[in-house]
Amino acid sequence: MQGTLDMLILQTLQWGPQHGYAIGHAIRACSRDTFQVETGSLYPALHRLERQGWLESEWRKTESNQRAKYYRLTSSGRKQLLSERRRWQQFVTAIGGVLNPAKSEEPL
């Protein structure tokens, strides 16, 4: 779904800088293998988000002494994540309303 991957990446990076491989892994792990992020989508998305200024990157060594490109959320990236989450929440609520009409008829 458009924008979903972006949100997942931003969410993953909320806990600290991470490289591409780990981001892919984290998304897969957190979604309990529901989302298999393909590299053909992951890297373009990372580069796009970086270009939009929501991510910054730097080269660092991993624990196993491997050079890797680490991505970090910027402050505008944080704001973007918040707005994406809000949008997602509205979306879920709306879908829920359609799937469970009875519930939505209840007076607020």
């Binding site: 890297y43 991993t62 491997q66 050079r67 890797a68």
Partner: protein, 898 residues
């Protein structure tokens, strides 16, 4: 995309590479840690990762400069393609360059000359006012100058004009410059003229009212070119005195050259000259500035009410008078307008044909390349990618053609500036017009890019195999388009036939003109003109006549001309020297009616129009004209001795058919001057010498002795206002400086100019014919190029479309030869159809050319045959390449490609 991005592109590329590698290594390590072997892990990781190239490509897109890279790729690919087909590329570029270049030059000229307003204030409302008379008894039918009082009358009473400006007393005169005498134009302008036209001096001041008062100190304004060329742009010229026509004037300013354009009102083109304040005793030609909103017709009608004033209250005259009000610009450019527009029309056609041909060539080339395109489409090249690639090809061609065209246009415009000064009016205002060029470049670019797009679309139809079928022949629209192209090619052949016939006729004419027997020597004779510092001219004569000034006691002949001739004769290398009143081919002539012997003075008919020429004794020898009978004019024929004449053979035959004319007497029938009543005795007969190239037969001619012109005679004023010299030399001699030196000593202040050999004089006279030959010749060259490329393009496409059919024919036993013949026949049919049409059109064109032709009929059989043969041969040559390609089609391959 910022420049910085571009610079760091390489680094980002490397980083992406490393990022992916580190991903793969980390993934592999994870797998190895869970127990897989190194190789297994690496393979699994590769599989999992997918196509790394694709990932990289998609990721690169995100950087935001993918399009630039693609464009670069396309351009590189295009350049490679065009290098491989360099002849195609060269042809296409040349055609576009010709089309764009020639049109840019042409429309620049049209814009500068016909469209841009004259450099005067309210130039759009600036009109010339001419007065003509229906009854020639009252004056010239087209144009007559008006007196000062009429000018004042019209200016104060007419309501149609903001101002009326008079240009008076136009003539040539001699101004003394640091380099000696110079012949320049002179004219006067009425008091409001400079202000009215808003012509501001480049230096100094304009005339003010004091300059116009009678008895004011004589002042003059110089034209900028005169000031530049002969006074070295010296600002100290102001308030200095210069001698003009023998009298001193104070220079008060320098005027822009544009004002001289106004002299076109006098039907003269003058490049440098002097302006004087008008005087009340002059006659004026008029220009007016219309009031805003007043039409030319209204002004004309209103001026009509002043007819009686113009005619000094003569009713008959007033009825006959008509006023003609025309925009000044049209008067100046009217003569060249039709020619320029016709040329422009032809050139637009050239541009159109060039665009069509480039597109035909593109299509033809893609017939050859269509398999490549189809294959590339089949293995997955995106449609957009192919289209953009082919568009890049069109764009590269268009840009190369346009740049070359710009260069070509500048060359052409440089050539325009080298035309004789009076060839195109306002020539000095012609400058490359960038908007014109830009517009044409855009047109050519659109045409080229669109035409390169067509094959792209054809090759990238959704289903490649359908595209292949389309390309190999089934398509109806393709056929229709091709038929149109065939017509176009036939039209091109027709056009080149017309142009080639015209060029052939012009060439023939020029050849004839170069090889005419003129009756005198062209090579060894140098001619030049000498104008006295105080040349009286026509106005001098008028002034002398009205003031009754006593004629000079001693003729200029004995004072100046004779001593000069003697000195010239002593120059090294000089064989003979003479002077005469006219230079051959100059167009200036002195025709007069003469009365043959036996025709009584009172009789009006039986008179003969002959060219009258005053000459010095060596005239015939210097020019190389043979003496047939009797003697030539000699030094003994002085003012005091009996009047003698020498006639040419033509006149001798007319005067006394079959008899000896020596001793017969001829005379002028005119009685305007008592001295002209005298009889002249014929003492000799000269061979015929042609003074004009256009006349078929030599004119009757009378030579009179230069010493026998009385100073009281009106003809003396012309004679004393300048003569032409003829110097026959041994081999080529550079005498200009030596001759000027002699004049400086013996005749100081004389303007000595117009040095040229008689051959050059002839070349000048045949300039129109030569220009016509160059123009039709180069047009014909372009047309031939068009025919070659057009035929090649169309036949190549035809071969491409009929590939399958040709394959079938060959499979059924047709030989290579018969296929070759078939395609050649196709080409010849197009060529013959065009040729038939073209030769018919040439018949009409030849009639238009008639006035330019000499010694060749418009229906010259040799020219027509030569053109037909040449065009057929060229057409066959152009058809040979596609025909050979057709004959080499492999039937199996052609059939299988279905």
């Amino acid at each position: 995309m910022s420049l910085l991005d571009w610079i760091f592109r390489r680094r980002r590329e490397r980083e992406l590479e490393e990022e992916i590698r580190s991903h793969l290594e980390m993934a592999a390590r994870d797998r190895m840690e869970s127990g897989e072997s190194g190789d297994e892990a690496r393979q699994a990781v590769q599989r999992e990762f997918g196509n790394a190239l694709l990932v990289k490509e998609v990721t690169r897109e995100m950087w935001g400069w993918g399009w630039a890279e693609r464009l670069l790729q396309d351009v590189r690919y295009t350049l490679r393609q065009l290098r491989k087909n360099s002849s195609f590329a060269a042809l296409a570029i040349i055609m576009l360059a010709l089309g764009i270049g020639a049109n840019t030059a042409m429309f620049t000229v049209i814009d500068s000359v016909l469209i841009q307003p004259l450099p005067f204030r309210d130039a759009k409302r600036l009109v010339s006012i001419k007065i003509g008379y229906l009854d020639s008894h009252f004056g010239d039918p087209d144009q007559n100058p008006v007196s000062w009082s009429t000018y004042r009358e019209l200016r104060t009473r007419s309501l149609s004009f903001e101002d009326i400006i008079g240009i008076g007393a136009w003539d040539w005169t001699v101004i003394q410059t640091p380099q000696g005498g110079q012949k320049v134009g002179r004219a006067t302008i009425t008091p409001s003229g400079l202000d009215g036209l808003a012509v501001h001096p480049v230096l100094g001041r304009a005339f003010d009212s004091k300059d116009y008062q009678s008895g004011a100190a004589p002042v003059v304004l110089l034209s900028a070119k005169l000031w530049r060329d002969h006074f070295g742009s010296d600002p100290q010229i102001l308030r200095r005195q210069v001698r003009i026509g023998g009298a001193p004037y104070t220079v008060v300013g320098v005027l822009p050259d544009s004002l001289l354009d106004l002299l076109v009102l006098q039907a003269e083109v003058v490049t440098s000259g002097v302006w004087l304040p008008s005087r009340a005793d002059e006659d004026f030609d008029l220009a007016g500035i219309l009031r805003p909103g007043v039409s030319r017709q209204a002004a004309q009608a209103e001026l009509g009410t002043f007819a009686l004033d113009v005619c000094n209250q003569n009713q008959e005259c007033a009825k006959s008078a008509k006023f003609i009000v025309e925009p000044c610009r049209d008067v100046m450019t009217g003569a060249v307008r039709p020619a320029l527009l016709a040329l422009a029309g032809a050139l637009v056609l050239v541009l159109l044909i060039a665009c069509v041909n480039v597109s035909n060539l593109q299509l033809a080339r893609h017939q050859v390349r269509r398999q490549e395109l189809a294959v590339r489409a089949a293995i997955g090249a995106g449609r957009g990618r192919l289209v953009s690639q082919l568009m890049a090809e069109g764009a590269v061609l268009a840009i190369a053609g346009t740049v070359t065209g710009l260069g070509f246009a500048s060359v052409l415009l440089a050539a325009v500036h080298r035309l004789p000064p009076n060839f195109i009016p306002r020539a000095d205002e012609i400058e490359l017009r960038v908007p014109v060029f830009a517009m044409l470049a855009v047109i050519a670019a659109i045409a080229t890019i669109l035409s390169s797009l067509a094959p792209a679309l054809l090759a990238t139809r959704s289903a490649p195999e359908e595209a292949l079928r389309e390309a190999s022949g089934g398509s109806i629209t393709g056929r229709k388009r091709l038929r149109l192209s065939q017509w176009m090619v036939a039209g091109e052949v027709a056009l080149s036939a017309v142009l080639l016939v015209s060029a052939g006729l012009m060439f023939h004419t020029l050849y004839n003109l170069e090889h005419i027997h003129f009756g005198f020597d062209l090579q060894q004779v140098t001619t030049f003109a000498a104008t006295p510092a105080n040349a009286p001219g026509y106005f001098g004569w008028l002034a002398a006549r009205s003031s009754g000034t006593a004629p000079q006691a001693q003729s200029v002949v004995t004072r100046v001309y004779q001593p000069v001739l003697d000195r010239l004769r002593q120059l090294p290398g000089v064989v003979d020297v003479a002077l005469g009143s006219w230079t051959p081919f100059d167009g200036e002539t002195g025709f007069a009616m003469i009365r043959p012997p036996g025709v009584p003075e009172s009789q009006q008919h039986g008179l003969i129009a002959a060219q009258i020429c005053y000459v010095s004794p060596d005239y015939a020898r210097a020019m190389g004209v043979p003496l047939i009978k009797g003697r030539m004019i000699s030094d003994e024929d002085t003012a005091g001795s009996p009047l003698v004449a020498v006639v040419n053979e033509t006149l001798a035959r007319r005067l006394a058919p079959g008899q000896d004319p020596i001793g017969e007497q001829i005379a002028y029938p005119a009685h305007s001057s008592p001295t002209m009543k005298n009889n002249y005795t014929i003492v000799g007969v000269l061979g015929d010498a042609r003074q004009h190239i256009v006349t078929r037969a030599p004119d009757p001619e009378v030579l009179l002795a230069y010493q026998q012109v009385p100073t009281s005679d009106p003809r003396y004023f012309f004679f004393a206002s300048g003569t032409n010299y003829f110097v026959r030399t041994r081999g080529h001699q550079e005498l200009t400086n030596a001759i000027r030196q002699i004049f400086r000593q013996l005749a100081p202040g004389y303007a000595v100019d117009h040095f040229r050999s008689l051959q050059v004089a002839l070349d000048d006279a045949t300039f129109n014919q030569r220009l016509g030959l160059y123009l039709t010749g180069s047009f014909a060259g372009v047309a031939i190029l068009m025919v070659l490329t057009g035929l090649y393009g169309v036949l190549s496409q035809l071969v491409g479309q009929r590939r399958r059919e040709i394959g079938v024919r060959m499979a059924l036993g047709a030989t290579n030869r018969s296929i070759l013949r078939m395609i050649l026949r196709q080409g010849s049919i197009l060529a013959l159809a065009g040729l038939a049409l073209g030769l018919l059109a040439a018949l009409a064109a030849g009639r238009l050319l008639r006035a330019f032709l000499y010694g060749v009929k418009p229906l010259d059989a040799a020219t027509y045959v030569a053109v037909a043969v040449a065009l057929l041969a060229l057409s066959i040559a152009a058809a040979l390449l596609p025909a050979r390609r057709a004959s080499r089609i492999d039937p199996m391959a052609a059939l299988r490609s279905e």
